[in-house]
Structure formats: C-alpha cells, structure tokens
C-alpha cells in the first residue's frame, strides 16, 4: 500500500483540472488533473508523445487548452499570455534549450529580471535615477544567479559558445532570475553525462532547501526521478495513468506497460536502472 503523499499538508501551488488540449484531431492532453504542493519536487514522466511537454506549454501560456483550467496559487491563469504567467511566478526551461544565442550569458540571465522591473520608455532614454536603480538591481540579481550556477567566468561570453551542460544551467539561472515560486523544467538532464546529471540533482536539492520554491519537472532519466522526486505523476497518450511515490511508480504494472509494452510472459523485471 502506498504511503501518504509528502507535502500534501502544504498549500496547493499549481492545479490543473480536466485539462484538455487538442491539435487537429489529436487529443494531446486528455482530461488531465494535477496537483502540486508547495515545496515539493514533482516529476512528470511517461513515454515520448505522452503529452508532458504539451501540459507544460499549456501551463506556461504557450497554448490555450480546449477544456479545463490551470490555477496557480489560487489565481486562474488559464489562457493567459506567457509573460503574464511569468509575472505571476512560474518560470520554465525548454526540452531543447532556448537560450538567446547571440547574447552574453549575463544578458540572458538579466532578461529573466525583465518582468521584475518597470522602467518605461522615458526613464530608459533619459536614464532617470529610478531606472538606474532598477538596472543596478537587475545586474546584481543576475550576478548572484550566474555565480549560483557556477558560470560567472562566462558572463561576457555569448550563450552559444559555452558547453552544452553549461547552457542547461544557464537556462535554469535565467528562469530563476524572474523570482518564480514554481520552477518548471522540461527534461533538464537531457544530454548531460552522469557527472553533470549528479551535479544537477545536487543543485536542485540545494535549491529547494534554500529558496522558497516548488519544482515541477519532466524527466526521462530514472536516476533523477528516483533521486530527487517527492512525488511522481505518469502520463501516457494524454492521460494520467498513475501517480505515487517514486518507488511505487517504479514497480507499477501500468507504468511499465506504458513504457515497454505488454510483456506476455509477465516476468519480473530485474537488472540495473535503465534510461528509457
């Protein structure tokens, strides 16, 4: 029997109700319910094409759902534009890293601070004291974040010129710069070697310990899922098929079937943990 869910006594930070997203004739996301509690790390897993990224895209405002809604800290954010959702406090990274390639690493992170400042045209052109104060703050926050991800030495390097693993961390730093309450990471360990993956896991664990943050992530690497998740939700073909503690999910029949297909002989799965 599954143990009760950790953090379930905490405030609900994100909730999706009956979320449905349809492309042409295809229900990419089908009546999807999700609850994320404050302070937890929730992993969304499932085979390719399950609809995980689509859920993220709906939550972060890139798509509008056909049915259902998204509620963030009590506010209905369904159908809002991406930049509004960032202002509310959700920041994300992308599966295939979308950095601002021809801008420096520091500038990338400073971009994250955009929504926390407010200088308009006049104050920007004439560099009023309030604008300069805001610029100093932006620079300061960016420098903190770039140090936090150990990329300070690359601050003036163009984003496209740094290593892949560093780019992933840079994207996370950019997301953190917008001072989010919820960090949404799409396959953050994708393409990282085992050491980098471990560093990422340690980083995320430290992050959640020291900052007022909740993390929602999509992952394929079971080491990461098992290593840092408090709760796991499994999707297949647009629907939620299971949820629970990491270990329970790991051994769940329906989940295994979804990833591997039905095994006629019903043999017990043995062997080392596999990436799928």
């Amino acid at each position: 029997m599954a143990l009760s869910r950790p953090y379930s006594d905490r405030e609900v930070v994100l909730e999706t109700k009956g979320l449905t997203k349809i492309f042409g004739g295809l229900k990419a996301v089908n009546d999807f319910d999700l609850v994320v509690h404050k302070g937890e790390i929730l992993s969304l897993i499932g085979p390719n094409g399950a609809g995980k990224t689509t859920v993220f895209n709906v939550v972060t405002g890139i798509y509008k759902p056909e049915h259902g809604g998204v509620i963030f800290r009590g506010t209905n954010i369904t159908g809002k534009k991406p930049h509004q959702i960032v202002s509310h406090g959700i920041a994300r990274t992308f599966q295939n890293i979308r950095l601002f390639q021809d801008m420096t690493c520091l500038e990338n992170i400073m971009a994250g601070q955009h929504c926390r400042a407010s200088s308009g045209l006049f104050s920007s052109v004439f560099r009023t004291p309030s604008m300069r104060r805001q610029e100093r703050r932006i620079a300061r926050v960016a420098q903190e974040r770039i140090k936090q991800v150990d990329l300070a030495q690359f601050k003036d390097e163009l984003a496209k010129n740094i290593a892949y693993g560093s780019q992933r961390m840079l994207e996370i730093a950019r997301a953190l710069a917008s001072e989010p309450q919820l960090l949404v990471l799409d396959e953050p360990s994708s393409g990282l070697n085992p050491k980098e993956t471990q560093d990422l896991m340690d980083f995320l664990k430290r992050l959640i310990l020291h900052e007022d943050l909740t993390i929602l992530l999509i992952e394929h690497d079971m080491n990461v899922v098992m290593g840092i998740s408090d709760w796991v939700v499994v999707m297949d073909e647009g629907k939620k098929i299971a949820q629970g503690l990491p270990l329970d999910i790991y051994n769940d029949e329906a989940v295994i079937e979804a990833y591997l297909g039905k095994d006629d002989e019903g043999e017990e799965r043995v062997g080392p943990v596999v990436h799928w």
Partner: protein
C-alpha cells in the same frame, strides 16, 4: 453581366501573368526560404529578349510560318535564355550567401536585382520599347456574347497548359515529391538521398523560364515594356505567392489568378487609380484572418 464576364477574362489574363511569375517565387521561396528579388528582373529580361527576337528575326518567320510562330519562337528563345541567366544568378549571387543567413541573402538578392535591372537598361536603353504591332494580329471574336481577343485565348491556354504541366510534375512525379520534400525540410530530404543540386537546377531553370514566358506575353498584351516593370509585376506576383500560402505551388497559381481578377474588378468597380491599394488591402486582410495564406496549411509549431 457581359461586362462582368469580360472583366473576368481580363482578370484571368493578367492573373495568368502573375501566376506564372508567382510560381517562380514560390519555388525558390519554398526550397530556400529566400525572396528572390531578382525574379521580377528575369521576367523583364524575358520580355526584352522576346522583343529582340521579334524585331530581329520573327519578321522572317512570320512571313514563312504565320504570326503565332513568331510569338512562339520569341517565347522559346526568351525562356531558354533565362534558364541560363537564372542558373548564373543562383551560382554567383545566392549559392555563396545563403548558407550564411536569410537576411544577408535578401541583401544579395536585392543586389542581384539592381545588377540585372541596370544590365537590361544598358543593353536596351532606358526608354520604353514597343513590341512590333504588326507581328501580333488583333483578332477579336465573340464567345457566348462576350468580347474576347484571340491573343487572350492564346495566353490563357498557354498559361494553363504550362501551369498544368508544372502541377503535374510537382504533385505527381517522384522528382516533384523530392522538390516538395526539400521545401519542407531540406536537411532530412538530403539525408533521404535527394540530390539538392538537382532541385536547385530545377527551380532556377523552370522558374525563370516561366517568368520569361510571362514577360513575352505581357509584351504582346500591353505592347509597351520598360526596364523597371519587373518591380511592379514582381511585387504583385510575390503578393500572390503569399496569398496562396508560402511554398505552396498550386496556391501560388490560384493566388496569381485571384489577384488578377481582384485587380480587374477593383479597377472596374472601384477606381482604376486605387486598384493597387485595393489589392494590397485584400492581401493584408487575408493575412490577418488567415495568416498562412488562403491555401496554406496551419502547421502547429513544435515548441
């Protein structure tokens, strides 16, 4: 009613010119994502070459074989020459530049256009030239009560023939599928074994040839040609390309025809002076409500 139908015929005639030119734009744009600004000048050059052929040689041909043979020979020579010019321009102005980026390619295309336009001016002079009227018989007749000229019929028939051939090649042959595949995703297409250079050969010979054909026909229809007319026709033809949906060849054909008809209707029922404004307004409205053109597909972008 009669007037409406006549305007329709006029519109389709002009539309055929736009359609033939638009095909050239659409092919290059579909595969290379490049707005080939020089294409309007291919059209102009075709027109001038046709002019030269008619002035120099066709007189003899006409005497021998009849008037329409003269026109045909002008078209053949013009189309043939432009295939060479088209390949040259691609090799010199585009091939070195488009790996670099799309915007530099646009500047290079503009440079090529300037170069061609001024070449035309240097060879044939800055003044208007007139297609020899004697070689283009004016035969009018009535078809179901509508006035129509033989020239219009020939233009329409020839244009539709060419468009059908191209449509067949693109939609029904293997090579056509290769062209479409390259337009969709160049890297995967080449990984699948599609010879990119052959696709380039195809679009930079057929496109200019079609444009040149349109040029000769325009010369015959309006009699007067100038070295700047590529600008105007090119712009409208590119509008037709967008109207039909970028990279969509049948769309470009229909876009051209629709544009021609709209222009004629606008000129007849609104005002000749404002017809171009009317055309552009239609374009803008279409794009606001159907951002991928009339026939373009709505492909969801994978984020």
């Amino acid at each position: 009613m009669q007037l409406l139908l006549e305007q329709l015929i006029n519109g389709l005639t002009i539309g055929s010119f736009y359609a033939l030119i638009a095909l050239g734009y659409s092919m290059v744009y579909g595969v290379l994502k490049l707005i080939n600004f020089a294409h309007g000048d291919f059209f102009t050059m075709g027109s001038y070459i046709g002019y030269t052929v008619l002035v120099l040689g066709a007189a003899a041909l006409t005497v021998q074989f009849g008037p329409w043979i003269g026109m045909l020979s002008a078209i053949c020579v013009a189309a043939g020459s432009l295939t060479i010019v088209g390949l040259l321009v691609e090799r010199v102005a585009y091939r070195p530049v488009y790996p670099v980026g799309r915007l530099p390619a646009v500047v290079s295309a503009l440079g090529a256009s300037i170069f061609l336009q001024n070449t035309i001016m240097l060879i044939w002079g800055p003044r208007y030239q007139a297609y020899p009227a004697a070689l283009i018989p004016v035969v009018r007749f009535q078809l179901g009560g509508i006035n129509i000229t033989l020239l219009q019929v020939i233009i329409l028939v020839l244009s539709f023939f060419l468009m059908s051939v191209l449509y067949y090649i693109i939609q029904r042959t293997t090579f056509g599928a290769a062209v479409r595949a390259t337009a969709h995703d160049r890297d995967t297409a080449s990984l699948m074994g599609i010879n990119f250079n052959r696709v380039i050969l195809f679009i930079f010979t057929l496109g200019p040839a079609l444009g040149a054909t349109a040029g000769v026909m325009v010369g015959m229809y309006y009699r007067q040609i100038s070295f700047t007319m590529g600008w105007n026709y090119g712009l409208k033809a590119f509008t037709a390309t967008i109207l039909g949906g970028i990279g969509n060849l049948p769309g470009a054909m229909f876009g051209g025809l629709i544009l021609g008809v709209l222009e004629m209707l606008g000129a007849a029922y609104i005002s000749a002076a404002w017809k171009d404004v009317f055309v552009f307004l239609i374009l803008i409205l279409v794009l606001i409500f159907r951002p991928n053109g009339l026939f373009g597909e709505k492909i969801a972008e994978k984020v």
